[in-house]
């Protein structure tokens, strides 16, 4: 019984939150890795792209809520998501036209584009805070839980409750659907293959009649979609605050690099590795250990390896270890 309680507690406090956080990171890292593979630079504005997409979704959600449109138990934000994606896509495509395209025409080296993306990051960051304000915004509605802790206790008779938030369930399911769609697109469709070809060998893609500007446009659109989905899911699961999205940049980059920059599969693996490490290291294990250990050995402290304030340190350390021992990442990235 104690053992079951321990497993339920583990699932409740570690596995399920890490799972949904990992999905969000994976979606974010997929966007970063796509840009890296096709436009060949690390896009520092990605966190703020996510914030912008989420912001548009939130504004549309509020509008829908005000005129009484809802999805019943599901959050209305899902209905507003396509609008968010569209808004975000318009922004990144406009940014590309106004900023990045110029540097592509000059055949600027990727490192220049990295710095350029930092400028874009500051602008987007300001834009989002200008429009929606720097504060926390709440936009989730519908049912809060798929299973609440109390229902679970009644169902199983265990001491520990297992709560699955609607946002967590939606996050994982949406992530699976989006990733499946992305992989199908990249490996089966003509456009997807042309994107991989462009990523592999730009000159030869040009000689094969693949239009680079078209490929870049598709890439930005897909990245906008991924960023918006990731941003909205993160906002539903935690809360929406522009500055947290800016901070998300670190775990997202860590995920993409750990998995291998340019490898979509790696981005997903990296997302989960970072999320699980972050949650396990910052979780206080006392509760689970009490169930598992004999009474004489029970820990007196919290058994928390690192305070949650330091969760970004986890991404940093993993990033350092990977860069020291396997700089290409787990999946040996570089080309899509």
């Amino acid at each position: 019984m104690d053992f079951l309680n321990a497993i339920v507690a583990l699932a409740n406090y570690v596995l399920i939150p890490a799972m949904s956080y990992g999905s969000q990171l994976a979606l974010g890292a997929l966007g970063v890795t796509l840009i890296y593979g096709i436009l060949r630079f690390s896009n520092f504005a990605h966190g703020d792209t996510m914030a912008f997409g989420a912001m548009v979704t939130i504004l549309v959600t509020w509008w829908m809520q005000s005129i009484g449109i809802s999805l019943g138990p599901l959050p209305t934000a899902l209905l507003a998501l396509p609008f968010g994606i569209l808004g975000c896509a318009l922004l990144v495509l406009a940014t590309d036209k106004m900023v990045y395209q110029f540097y592509r025409e000059q055949k600027a080296k990727p490192v220049i584009l990295v710095i350029v993306s930092m400028g874009v990051m500051f602008i987007m960051n300001g834009l989002v805070r200008f429009i929606i304000g720097p504060d926390d915004q709440n936009f989730s509605d519908g049912a809060r839980f798929i299973i609440s802790a109390r229902d679970f206790k009644q169902m199983t008779g265990l001491d520990e409750g297992l709560a699955i938030k609607t946002s967590q369930g939606i996050t994982v399911i949406t992530a699976i659907v989006v990733v499946a769609l992305l992989f199908w697109f990249l490996s089966r469709t003509r456009t997807g293959k042309s994107m991989r070809a462009y990523s592999d060998n730009e000159d030869l893609a040009l000689l094969s009649g693949i239009n680079p500007e078209r490929v870049v446009m598709y890439t930005w659109f897909i990245v906008a979609a991924l960023a918006t989905v990731a941003g909205v899911l993160y906002g539903l699961d935690k809360s929406f605050k522009p500055f947290t999205y800016f901070q998300l940049l670190l775990p997202i980059f860590a995920s993409a690099i750990v998995g291998g920059l340019g490898s979509p599969l790696g981005a997903i693996a990296g997302g989960f590795i970072i999320a699980f490490s972050e949650v396990t290291i910052t979780y206080a294990w006392k509760k689970i250990l009490i169930y598992l250990m004999p009474e004489s050995l029970e820990p007196s402290g919290l058994v928390q390896l690192l305070s949650t304030d330091y969760k970004f340190a986890v991404s940093f350390v993993i990033l350092l270890i990977v860069l020291l021992f396997r700089p290409t990442g787990i999946f040996r990235g570089k080309a899509l």
């Binding site: 042309s194 070809a197 592999d200 030869l204 080309a335």
Partner: protein
């Protein structure tokens, strides 16, 4: 004027020499080599140019290939062989001269527009998509085609049977010779009107080289004119209908492959006697 052995040596004495009305025109001796360029299917005519703002690499260089022919560009290292090919394909700043395909002026077109016009180009290096399968490589070759290209693909598999065997393998995992076959196959997928190969046998073993030459002859037999740059001058000239020897970016010798092989000057300077 003093250097002119047949000049007037400063004489202005009109009583002994009458300059009035003397002729100044000289008939041209011609080049001494027949070059039928008006009807050439693909021709880079009198091209002068270099990369970017750099110095000229080509000097009045003319390269042409006719229907049903194999034309080969040979020459010493640094003679501008690949550069001449690139100039024909629009990857060099050509400052003078013109490039014509089937009589149509294409000097101003970008490389990708030339592909659409029917030119197939196989670069010397990085000529395949290494992370994609052989079949995907061929599909990408046919990217500009909107019609059904499965016929062309099966023709290419007939031409290069090894590719059919390895169709779902990543092209980067193949051997050097097989990669070159993928590269040529990719370029053939557009059903080009002319095929340009930049050193197709660079870096492959002599046995594979012979096989590649056989395949190239087979491609030429299907009626596609081939313009090719080659390091292995002797073998290339043996299969060539037309050969161009370039030296320092200019035409040094040109003629049929056999003529060039028989020419004592060419033999002495480029073929090792």
């Amino acid at each position: 004027m003093s250097s002119d052995p047949y000049g007037d040596r400063g004489n202005t004495d009109r009583s002994i020499a009458n300059p009035h009305g003397a002729g100044t025109l000289r008939p041209s001796p011609g080049t001494g080599q027949a070059m039928d360029t008006a009807s050439a299917f693909l021709i880079g005519d009198c091209m002068t140019g270099g990369y970017g703002k750099g110095p000229d690499i080509l000097h009045d260089c003319t390269i042409a290939v006719d229907k049903g022919e194999i034309a080969v560009i040979v020459g010493p290292n640094g003679a501008g062989k690949s550069t001449a090919m690139k100039a024909v394909f629009g990857m060099l700043d050509v400052r003078q001269g013109s490039v014509r395909l089937d009589g149509e002026e294409i000097t101003g077109l970008s490389p990708q527009d030339r592909v659409v016009k029917g030119m197939g180009f196989v670069p010397q290096t990085n000529n395949i998509f290494t992370s994609m399968t052989v079949e995907e490589n061929l599909e990408m070759g046919a990217f500009i085609r909107t019609d059904d290209f499965s016929d062309t693909m099966s023709q290419i598999y007939d031409l290069f049977p090894i590719l059919k065997e390895k169709r779902s393998q990543a092209a980067g995992e193949l051997s050097g010779g097989q990669r070159q076959q993928v590269a040529v196959g990719r370029a053939l997928m557009t059903r080009p009107k002319v095929l340009m190969l930049d050193e197709p046998t660079a870096g492959v073993s002599p046995i594979v080289m012979d096989e590649l030459f056989d395949r190239i002859i087979e491609v030429a037999r299907t009626g596609i004119p081939i313009l090719m740059v080659e390091q292995n001058a002797r073998q290339a000239l043996e299969i060539a209908d037309k050969g161009y020897v370039l030296v320092q970016g200019a035409n040094a010798y040109s003629g049929t492959g056999k003529d060039l092989l028989a020419d004592p000057d060419v033999r002495k300077s480029f073929l090792g006697g």
